[in-house]
Amino acid sequence: MKPGFLAKNPSVMWFLLILAIFTLGVTFLSHAYGPGVISTSMVKTLGKTLCLCLIAIAMDLVWGYTGILSLGHFAFFGLGGYMIGMWLMYERTRDIVLSSAGSFPMTPQEVNDAIGTQIFGVVGGSELPAIWTFAGNLPMQLLFVVLVPGLLALIFGWLAFRSRVTGVYLSILTQAMTLALSLYLFQNESGLRGNNGLSGLQNIPGVSAGQDQLSVWFLWASAVALGLGYIAAAFIVSGKFGSVIRGIRDDEARVRFLGYSVEGYKLFVFTLTAVIAAIAGALYYPQAGIINPGEMAPIASIYLAVWVAIGGRGRLYGAVMGAAFVSIVSSWFTGGRVPDIPLGFYTIQWVDWWQVLLGLAFVLVTLLAPKGLSGIVDLLEGIRSPDRHGDPLGPDQGSLQQKEAQE
C-alpha cells in the first residue's frame, strides 16, 4: 500500500525531505551540536513553529477539508499544554522539595503538602486540587494529553453537530466554547493557578542536559510529530474518507442522501484534529516554558484560521506554509529586527504597526488570493483554477471557492 500512497501524494515525500533537511540543518548549526550559528532561543522558536505547523494541519483538516470553521482548536492546543505542564511542574517542584528537605525522609503527605504550597502559594492556596491527583504520573498525564481535549471535543462536537449547527453559527459556538474555557481557567478555583498559569515548564525533571541540548531534542520531537501528523493527515484525505469529508464541505445534504452519517464524520474529524492539536500543544509549551489562559483566548484560534487561509486551505502543505510563514515573519517583525521606516513626520515602527500590516494583508489575501501562498506553488506547477463564472464548488458555507479549486 505504501508506494501507492506516496505516489498518490507526492507532496508527502517532498514535505518529509524538506522537514528532514531543515531539522538536520538546525541541529548542526545549533549551540549544542554545532558551531552555534543558531542561538538556543532561535532553536526554540523554530521548534515551536513546527508545533504550530502541526496544529495548522489539524485546522486544515477540519476547515480546509471538512468545511467546519472551528474557532476553538487553540483551546485544545492549550489543554494539551496544560496536561503535560501539570506533570512538568509537579515533578520539578517535587525535585525541589525533596532536595531542600534535608536527610530526614518525608511522609508522602508531607511531600504532597509541600508541593501544594510551592505550586499554589502564588494564588493563596496550599492544597493540590483533585485534578492534580495523577500529576506525578507521567503515563497518566500523557494519556490525559489526548484524552481530556479529545473528550471535550467529542462532547462539544456531539452537541453541536447533532443539532445541525453549521456555518457561522458553528464558528461562533466554537468561539464561545473557547471563551468559556479560557475564562474558566482564569479563575483560581479552576485549580490550574488562574491567570498565573503554569511556569518553569522548560525544565524536564530527571534530565540533566542543559537547555542547549533540550531545545534540539524538542525540535526533533516536534519534527517527528509534524512528519507523522502530515503522513496521517495525507492518508486520511487521500482515500474515500477524504472524498466524503470534502463532499461534506461542499454539499453536506448530498452526502447525507448517499447514506453517510455526516454528523459522525464531522465528529470524527473534529475530535481527531482536537487530539492532534493537543499533541502539538504538549510539545509546544515545554519549549515556551510557560502557559497561561491568555494563550487560549478565542483570538488565538482565529489567528490559526488566518495562518491556514494565508497558506491556502484545502491542502496540507498550504497549512504548514501559512503557519510557518506567518509565525516566523511575525517574530521577525515583533522582534524589532525589521528596520523602521522614517517618513519625516512620522516613523513607522514595525513593533507597533505589524498587527495593522498583518490584518490588512489578511483582508487582501481573503479578497484577492484565496489560494494564499499555495497559489505560488500552483503558478510554478502551472495549475490553474477552473472558470466557473465565479460559482463556488458547492452550496455550503464552507465549500471551496472557484479560485481555490484546481482544474
Binding site: 486520511i236 482515500g239 454539499d251 448517499l258
Partner: protein, 256 residues
Amino acid sequence: MSDHVIGAQPGNAQLEVSGISVTFDGFRAINNLSFAIGPAELRAVIGPNGAGKTTFMDIVTGKTRPDEGRVLWGETHQNLLKMNEAQIARAGIGRKFQKPTVFEDQSVTDNLMMALKANRSPFSVLVWKAGAKDRARVEEIAAQVGLADQLPRKAGELSHGQKQWLEIGMLLAQEPRLLLVDEPAAGMTLAEREQTTALLVDLAKTRAVVVVEHDMEFVRRLNCKVTVLHEGSVLAEGTLDHVTADQRVIEVYLGR
C-alpha cells in the same frame, strides 16, 4: 397496456405512506396523503406546481418530518419517520434531485466510488481500499451512463446533461431498492430522454421507481401507473389515459 399497470397490493408494498400531513407556517403542503408502491414497480407522480411532489419526496427521504401519518418501508415495515436521512439512504432509498448535484471538486471516479454500496461508518471508510471488484463496478456503471471516457475528469467540468447522468450513475452505485427521481428529463436532449426512459423502465424490473415529472410526453413514454397530486393529496390514480380523462384532473391542469 392496462395489464401492465398493476397497483401495489396492500401488505406487500415496498413503501407504504399513509395519512401524512405537513404544515409550513400555516400552509398545508401535504394533506392526508396516502401512497403505496410495490417492490418492482414504476410509478409516475404528476401534479401542478405546489401540489406537494417535492415535499412528498422530502418526507420519504427524511428531510422533512410530517406532523402526522406513517411511512413504512420494506418487508419488515420499518418506520422511516424514526430514521434520519443517512439511515434511510442506507436502508435502500436513493434520490435524484431536480438540479444535478454532484461533488464538483472531485473526479467522476471519486463521485461513483463514494456512492458505491459499502459500509458507511467513518472507521471502515477510513481503511477502505478500492478493490478490483469495486473498480470494475465503477467502470461498468460509468459505461452504463455513458461516462466511461470521463472517469478521471472533475465532475465540475462536465456538461449539465453529463452531470445528470453522473447523478443517475451514483444512484445506481448505491443499489437502492426504491429510486425517487425528480424531473430526470429536465434539460436533456431528445435522444437523452429516450435513453433515460429506457433506463428507468429497465430499472423498475428489479426495484421500485418513483418518477416525479411535469412533462406529460415523458410520462406517456414511461407507460406506467400515474398518481396525480393536488394540494397535498392524491387526486387521481391509474393509467395516464384514465387520469387525463378525469374531470377534476382536467380542471386542476387547465384551471377553472
